[in-house]
């Protein structure tokens, strides 16, 4: 057991999975000699050699497309896209092939690959380095869309993603790559894909969040507890898609009040789906309109305004108060 940042935890997952299974290989831009621009793949080249840690040419489409080919041939590639904002160069590979190869071949050829990429704002980065467009991938049948919220879940979810028989788009919340450390056990740990986690218990309202925003939701929950004795249930989504809404329904039925948080643009964002599912399955339990705290429908502004753009605890608290104020 030792205290690790998310970067270190992800590195541990990769190292151990590569150690345990020769079929696991890593490829992408600058993942080898450089160890990845965020150092997530640091040390892997030395440990496993250039056959297994491939510094590829600068070409996202073939990185993803070749990963699919490798998967068909029996490997378990973990491709890195340097920032999620560049994954669109491979969008046709993801939508048209990675998501469909199992289906098209009726299970004969599968795509047990992972496409990792840092996403999200908050690190004073350049344009295209701060997006949060998980909805694109969540709306794509055949893909799984996973987002961890801390070092320990990052490690466990990445291990599960690598072992998963289906392709996983793995978004890493770069704002918390090194923001804090957590105990991450040295021994193997996995976390099932497709299962949200309840990370705080409360009966007064429900927060659903994921990635870096989970921490702002938790901060809001603490503020509410301290300032008005209101206890929030907080759910860490972990898997955005396929969305398992069971735990959310359960919580919503208990609290009757729900606030959803993400840093993706509001309109047509992931929270909309959760609202729709709640309306379909828990309508009569809702005591107030489900609230969404999200980024506005704009492009992430350059970094001088990115904190204003991002939902923060104060906005979440405000939405919660409004939701709580509704008389049932």
């Amino acid at each position: 057991m030792s205290e690790r940042t998310m970067v270190e935890a992800l590195n541990l997952a990769l190292e151990q999975e590569m150690e345990g299974d020769d079929a696991v290989i890593v490829l992408g831009e600058d993942v080898g000699v450089d160890g990845g621009v965020f150092r997530v793949t640091e040390g892997l080249l030395d440990a496993f050699g250039e056959q297994r840690v491939m510094d590829t040419p600068l070409a996202e489409s073939v990185i993803v497309g070749a990963s699919l080919g490798m998967a068909i041939r029996g490997l378990k590639p973990v491709a890195e896209i340097q920032f999620s904002g560049f994954s669109y160069f491979a969008f046709h590979q993801l939508e048209s092939h990675v998501a469909r190869m199992r289906w098209r071949s009726r299970g004969r050829f599968t795509a047990p690959l992972v496409v990792r990429m840092p996403y999200g704002a908050g690190v004073r980065a350049l344009e295209h380095h701060s997006e949060s467009r998980e909805a694109y991938y969540a709306h794509t049948p055949g893909l799984k869309m996973v987002i961890p919220s801390g070092p320990r879940t990052a490690r466990a979810l990445l291990v599960s993603a690598i072992r998963d028989p289906d392709p996983v788009v793995f978004f890493e919340p770069k704002a918390i790559y090194r923001a804090f450390r957590e105990e991450v056990p040295d021994e193997e740990e996995t976390l099932p894909i497709g299962e949200p986690r309840r990370v705080r218990e409360g009966d007064d309202l429900t927060f659903v969040a994921y990635g870096a925003m989970l921490h702002r939701a938790l901060e809001a929950a603490e503020t509410l507890a301290e300032e008005e004795g209101v206890e929030a249930d907080v759910i860490d989504l972990c898997t955005v898609s396929p969305l398992a809404d069971g735990p959310i329904q359960e919580s919503a039925k208990r609290t009757g009040r729900v606030v959803l948080v993400h840093e993706a643009p509001r309109s047509f964002g992931p929270a909309a789906e959760i609202v729709a599912r709640l309306v379909e399955k828990a309508f009569w339990w809702l005591e107030a309109p489900v609230a969404r705290v999200a980024a506005p429908d704009v492009i992430v502004p350059y970094f001088a305004r990115e904190q204003a753009y991002l939902p923060d605890a104060a906005r979440i608290v405000a939405a919660a108060r409004e939701t709580l104020a509704v008389e049932a």
Binding site: V62, G69, P77, R104, R277
Partner: protein, 371 residues
């Protein structure tokens, strides 16, 4: 020091062995025994007749849109004949002749063309990918398979097919470059059939040949007469050999012609002259090979007639089998299969809801019948 021409390490060659007049260049004639030659001919003929039958079925509304292969049989069979069974074939959407050679069951192809996902199932053990429709997008997969094969120490080689139009797509270039960098054992077979739907080859790109596009990635490129199965076979054989011995990828441009429609939704009279088609009819690979075999006394009219019957029997049997199968495939719920390895709970819920709806309707329909 100043201004000088750079010596490029690679040039681009042209190869033809059996020309349209039937003249053979013995020097380059590959070493093929009679059995092999006859097998090539049979596959070409089967492919040709199957293609014709598909067109007929499509015109009768029994199957959907498909892309006829007519005219490109030599490019495909000459190429895949250079492979071993455990080598991989990554097709685009017009590789019926290659599929026939590789033993993909006609029944499956028919099912596929009739709109059943079940037709896309690749028989267990076969190293042939399903049809890929988005132009050029299958090329990266071939590169990845090749990398994987080499990584695992197997000596499998991968052959990927695509058209002249595909060379304009980024995926083609990213793939040949990636394969060049990692020395992947892959053979890129470009079937330059002169047209990408309505766009002629000369308007697709200003490069003199498509083969020279390999220079861009530092990989060898060769242009061959794609209606000459021997030229294709020689080039493919060299490329396969190179790939298998760890010397990396090759780009082969087969100069051929699409004698038929782009797809059954296409009307070529909008964009090309009959004269051009007639010129290329004269270069048709099937009579070319057939004439060669007749010249060598490996085939006579009687044998051809017999073969025609055999082939047409095979096609009809496949269509019967496919029709029977279709009659059984009446549950639309298969659409919920194979999207993920396991159906997530919400998808299972959706399946159940729809299944209920469908069976309600079936009952409704049955009920009405009984009244």
């Amino acid at each position: 020091m100043p201004r000088e021409t750079i010596d490029l390490p690679r040039s681009v060659e042209w190869l033809q062995v059996l020309d349209e007049e039937g003249a053979l260049d013995e020097e380059w004639m590959p070493d093929l025994d009679d059995e092999e030659l006859l097998a090539w001919h049979r596959a070409m003929l089967l492919s040709r007749r199957f293609d014709e039958r598909l067109l007929e079925l499509q015109r009768q509304g029994k199957i959907g849109t498909f892309a006829p292969v007519r005219g490109q049989e030599a490019s495909q069979i000459g190429a895949v004949a250079a492979l071993e069974e455990e080598d991989w074939v990554v097709p685009s959407f017009r590789e019926t002749a290659a599929a026939v050679w590789r033993g993909i069951p006609l029944e499956g192809l028919l099912l596929y063309n009739a709109g059943y996902n079940e037709g896309g199932e690749v028989p267990e053990g076969k190293h042939d990918l399903p049809i890929a429709i988005p132009v050029a997008s299958q090329i990266p997969h071939a590169v990845g398979i090749a990398y994987g094969a080499a990584y695992e120490g197997s000596d499998e080689v991968v052959m990927v097919f695509f058209g002249d139009g595909a060379t304009s797509e980024g995926d083609f270039h990213e793939s040949i470059n990636f394969a060049g960098v990692f020395g992947c054992p892959v053979v890129f077979v470009c079937q330059n059939n002169q047209w990408a739907i309505s766009l002629p080859r000369e308007e697709q790109t200003k490069s003199k040949t498509l083969a020279q596009k390999g220079l861009s990635a530092g990989i060898p490129g060769i242009q061959v007469d794609g209606n000459d199965p021997f030229a294709v076979y020689v080039a493919a054989g060299e490329a396969v050999e190179r790939a298998r011995s760890g010397e990396g990828p090759t780009l082969i441009e087969c100069v051929t012609y699409r004698l038929s429609l782009h797809t059954t939704a296409d009307d070529p009279s909008k964009y090309r002259d009959e004269e051009e088609v007639e010129e290329w009819e004269a270069k048709d690979p099937l009579p070319r090979l057939q004439g060669f075999l007749q010249e060598r006394d490996l085939l006579d009219d009687g044998a051809i007639e017999e073969l025609e019957e055999e082939v047409s029997g095979e096609i009809e049997a496949a269509w019967e089998a496919a029709s029977e199968r279709m009659a059984e495939l009446d549950d639309p719920a298969v659409m919920f299969d194979h999207v993920w390895a396991e159906r997530p709970p919400e998808l299972e819920r959706q399946r159940e809801t729809l299944a209920k709806e469908w069976s309600r309707r079936d009952e409704g329909a049955g009920g009405e019948g009984e009244e």
